[in-house]
């Protein structure tokens, strides 16, 4: 049954409650794997006529961290950008196939990309707080766009999100300072707080630590491990040790002969990093090529 969370009709309507709460809670007690949070089926992505993804299919488990690794140009970023319909924002870009988020096809004709992006948060390589906004305004920017103006509620969400992003203690006395005045690592955690303030079903992270120093990186990694209790996280990273440290499952991608990204191997992170089954995965993660 379609619950039409991403359709236009819902845009101005009632506050959209985080769904799947019951399913997610039962997952803790039940060993059996629940329905996947994201299912990608035969996904092809194009930039003009150039095919960037070649028939990618995979299932992302709910409340877990999935890392996507592979050499430059293998389509990792394109893949995650397809999961919140950011890919099509690039001029001439298009995608075919299906991407189901909690069972609903985000590429269905009546699906609204804006609603999709509201439910599927994204954190980018370079921290990008809104420069003219304070720390507090940054965190609640999305909620305000949704039309929520109750100050008490916004304050609650801001504090909760900043706490979850492990930033609260560092910024609680400077909530009205510009977000741009924070350090790089703090800015990235602010962006994470801004994303999780929207209670996204899925949080996409595209190289979230590549512009950060090692200490800030470790903080973000610790945060990712904590956030998986509440969110489904997909992280693109060039840093294989990072993928090994933070993720539960790992997907390895590689370009095919026509330079289109292909999914080569997908499995538990422990298996991929200790005993990959595909020679190409082995070659890449042992640093023998790529």
């Amino acid at each position: 049954m379609r619950n039409a969370r991403y359709t236009k009709a819902n845009m101005m309507g009632e506050e959209i409650r985080p769904i799947m709460v019951t399913v997610r809670e039962s997952e803790e007690t039940l060993e059996a794997p629940s329905a996947p949070a994201v299912t990608v089926e035969h996904l092809n992505a194009y930039y003009g006529t150039f095919r960037a993804l070649n028939d990618v299919s995979l299932e992302i488990r709910a409340r877990s961290v999935t890392a996507v690794i592979g050499p430059s140009g293998c389509g990792k970023s394109t893949l995650v950008r397809c999961i919140n319909r950011m890919h099509e924002v690039a001029p001439g870009a298009s995608a075919s196939g299906r991407v189901l988020v909690s069972g609903e096809d985000i590429y269905a004709p009546d699906s609204d990309p804006v609603q999709v992006r509201r439910h599927i948060g994204m954190v980018f390589q370079k921290p990008n707080p809104f420069p003219m906004m304070s720390v507090w305004q940054n965190v609640v920017a999305g909620l305000r766009l949704e039309g929520i103006s109750d100050k008490k509620r916004l304050e609650e969400v801001a504090e909760r999100s900043l706490r979850k992003a492990a930033l609260w203690d560092e910024v609680k006395d400077k909530l009205h300072m510009s977000g741009a005045a924070l350090s790089g690592g703090q800015q990235q955690r602010l962006c994470i707080a801004r994303a999780i303030a929207m209670e996204p079903e899925v949080l996409l992270m595209d190289e979230p630590c590549s512009a950060l120093d090692p200490v800030a990186t470790i903080k973000i990694e610790d945060l990712i491990r904590e956030l998986r209790e509440s969110f489904t996280i997909i992280i693109v990273t060039h840093n294989m040790q990072q993928a090994a440290r933070v993720s539960d499952r790992t997907a390895f991608m590689l370009m095919d002969e026509e330079r289109a990204g292909q999914l080569i191997e997908y499995g538990s992170t422990a298996q991929i990093f200790t005993n990959p089954q595909d020679k190409r995965t082995e070659g890449y993660i042992t640093g023998r090529f790529g």
Partner: protein, 223 residues
């Protein structure tokens, strides 16, 4: 698929060379210990015991090397499994060295009293156990799972020889209690060789782990 980790590959090759070198030291120790027992050569036995320090030192060196490589190269997948396998194999080799040392001690305890019987099966056991050691290390170098499985099966032959020696010596002891002390020394020597063969089986298991990523006990020894 171009190799882009020349230095790392060189380090791994060197490490395996050191492992084989350690295997050779252990092999010579076993050979010499059994030879000393056959000839009741106490001087030689003392050399075997003194040399065990060299084997122990080699183990520590190889372990240090592995830790260094792990810390600096962040090995993954088969590289990681190779290093883990090496860490485990050096323990087995070091213990085999201890068993050779144990046979050396037996020679000293036995002293110059005549052997209860000429040694035939103990040298045979020693040859078989050493064959297993050679074969296991060779199969490791070649990443040969089939050979490893075959070699591990030879442990049954060593076990059978140990059984035979044990019963034979028991008969000697029952017939003539004055042989009890000397016969039990030989039983201990046989036991040491039986353990050496078991350790060779462990090396075979590490080869299988290295190739397949699966850690399984091949055959549970009778002892």
């Amino acid at each position: 698929m171009a190799t882009v980790r020349t230095l790392f590959d060189e380090e791994l090759r060197e490490l395996q060379q050191q492992l084989l070198l350690m295997g050779t030291l252990v092999d010579s120790a076993i050979e010499k210990a059994v030879d000393c027992l056959k000839r009741l050569d106490e001087t030689g036995a003392r050399e075997v015991m003194a040399n065990d320090v060299v084997i122990n030192q080699k183990r520590l060196e190889i372990e240090d090397r592995v830790v260094q490589i792990m810390a600096t190269q962040q090995p993954m997948a088969s590289d990681l499994r190779l290093l883990i396998a090496v860490l485990r194999i050096v323990v087995d080799l070091e213990r085999m060295g201890d068993h050779a040392e144990g046979i050396g001690k037996i020679v000293l305890l036995h002293g110059q009293q005549p052997l209860v019987k000429p040694l035939i099966d103990i040298p045979r056991m020693s040859i078989k156990a050493r064959e297993m050691l050679h074969g296991a290390l060779e199969a490791f170098s070649r990443r040969d799972v089939d050979a490893s499985l075959r070699i591990a099966m030879d442990d049954d032959e060593v076990d059978a020889l140990h059984d035979q020696i044990f019963h034979e010596l028991l008969v000697y002891m029952l017939r003539d209690p004055s042989t009890i002390e000397r016969a039990s020394y030989l039983m201990w020597a046989s036991h040491n060789l039986e353990r050496i063969a078991d350790r060779a089986t462990n090396i075979c298991e590490q080869t299988i782990y290295l190739v397949t990523g699966k850690m399984e006990e091949i055959n549970i020894s009778k002892y």
